[in-house]
């Protein structure tokens, strides 16, 4: 309800649910999604991210402009499309957010604790990670998703991610596959992509991170995973931990070859 209360207070009327012929409704909702993508304010977040990327911060008063996202210091073009990948300097597989965190601690000299104090923002104050994710991801538009899958640690991350996807635990005995396991299923009206299959993973992974019109917030993949585990009644996955990176690696490798067209705009 929190999501709606903001509008709800103003719009006293309840949001109506409209029964419609399923096929027509689906087509119209696709049209809606296309129209909101065309009229998306997502570029504002890319602008905010560019500012933060270039802003000197931390004890070293350094910007992130020398951050190496895998293609060399400061190279942004197509870098996001190739994440997660193995980084020799950290000796681990990293997704965008964990790599940004690495650069914040190494280049800017910030503590991990300080840099992760507020990783998920809100509509009034998006987080630094959210802005930066928008900016970096935006530089990969048109590039095919090609997460690392050759290094032994990349293969390991993929396998761990896959195992996590099907692992049932938590207070409600759920795995990712409990909801994202069979085709054609919905939670309420929301269709559920079967993300371990390439044809479903592709359009989804090609549009994260994303702006959500329902709450005017820019959301990252780390948030997406975090919020799934919240709803699955698990404890909280630690930000940028190997488990979260492994899941993203599994999903992105599964989506390999899809041209990136984010940051996306979602309902």
């Amino acid at each position: 309800m929190t999501r709606l209360s903001r509008i709800g207070l103003f719009f006293v009327g309840a949001l109506a649910c409209v029964p419609l012929v399923a096929q027509d409704a689906k087509k119209e909702i696709q049209r809606y999604q296309q129209m909101i993508a065309e009229g998306s304010p997502v570029e504002l977040f890319e602008l905010g991210g560019e500012e933060l990327w270039k802003k000197p911060q931390g004890p070293n008063s350094a910007s992130l402009e020398k951050c190496d996202l895998g293609l060399g210091p400061g190279v942004l073009k197509s870098a996001y499309a190739r994440l997660p990948r193995y980084f020799k300097d950290a000796d681990r597989v990293m997704d965008l957010e964990s790599r940004l965190l690495h650069c914040m601690t190494t280049l800017q000299g910030r503590s991990r604790e300080e840099a992760t104090r507020r990783v998920f923002g809100n509509e009034n104050q998006p987080s630094e990670m959210e802005y930066l994710s928008a900016y970096v991801a935006g530089q990969s538009r048109g590039f095919k998703l090609a997460a690392g899958a050759a290094h032994p640690k990349e293969k390991e991350a993929y396998q761990l991610g896959k195992a996590l996807y099907f692992h049932r635990a938590g207070a409600w005995d759920m795995s990712c596959a409990s909801c994202h396991g069979d085709e054609g299923k919905r939670i309420r009206m929301q269709e559920l992509p079967v993300l371990y299959k390439p044809q479903f993973a592709r359009p989804i992974m090609a549009t994260w991170p994303a702006y959500r019109v329902s709450n005017s917030q820019f959301k990252t993949m780390q948030w997406r995973i975090n919020d799934c585990y919240r709803q699955m009644r698990y404890p909280e996955p630690t930000f940028a931990s190997d488990a979260t990176v492994a899941l993203t690696a599994f999903l992105t490798v599964t989506a390999a070859g899809e041209p990136y067209r984010g940051p996306g705009t979602k309902r």
Binding site: R3, L4, I7, F10, F11, V12, G13, A14, L15, A16, C17, V18, L20, A25, E28, I29, R31, Y32, Q33, M35, I36, E38, G39, C179, R186, I187, R188, M189, Q190, L192, V213, S214, N215, S216, D227, C228, Q231, R267
Partner: protein, 145 residues
């Protein structure tokens, strides 16, 4: 809704204390109207003539009422103004766009809709008022996923 009205009045107050240079027109009466009929009256458009020359491009179904994209084009010669009213919103008038010499009578914007509703577009052309209507259904998504 009283609080909204009070604050709308307050908002106007803020505007009034600003230096005149920064003052721009904002039709307090039309935007404060609680029905489409009252808003139309305030716009001086009580009985607009239906017209097929006003094109409203919008989804039939909006998954989320927080963002409903609407694209409006008037093909009426000499169109000088376009107003958008969302019939069932507490304050129906969402916007009014005046086109001077050099602008085409076209606008695309995102609006909030509290529930399924008719969207009315009023165009002024040659000093006369015309109207076109489109119904937009608003559904609501899942449990936050």
């Amino acid at each position: 809704m009283d609080t909204i009205r009070r604050s709308l009045a307050a908002a106007l107050g803020v505007l009034l204390v600003k230096p005149l240079a920064a003052l721009a027109a904002w039709n307090n009466q039309a935007f404060g109207a609680k029905s489409a009929a009252d808003a139309l009256k305030s716009l001086g458009a009580s009985t607009p003539a239906p017209s097929k020359e006003i094109a409203i491009e919008a989804p039939q179904i909006a998954e989320n009422g927080a963002v409903v994209p609407i694209e409006i084009t008037s093909h009426l010669p000499g169109t000088t103004s376009i107003a958008v009213l969302i019939e069932k919103n507490p304050f129906p008038l969402a916007g009014k766009f005046d086109f001077k010499e050099g602008a085409l009578p076209f606008v695309k914007l995102n609006v909030k809709m509290g529930e399924s509703s008719d969207v009315r577009v009023i165009a002024v052309a040659g000093g006369r008022h015309y109207v076109a209507t489109k119904e937009i259904k608003v559904t609501i998504g899942g449990c936050g996923g």
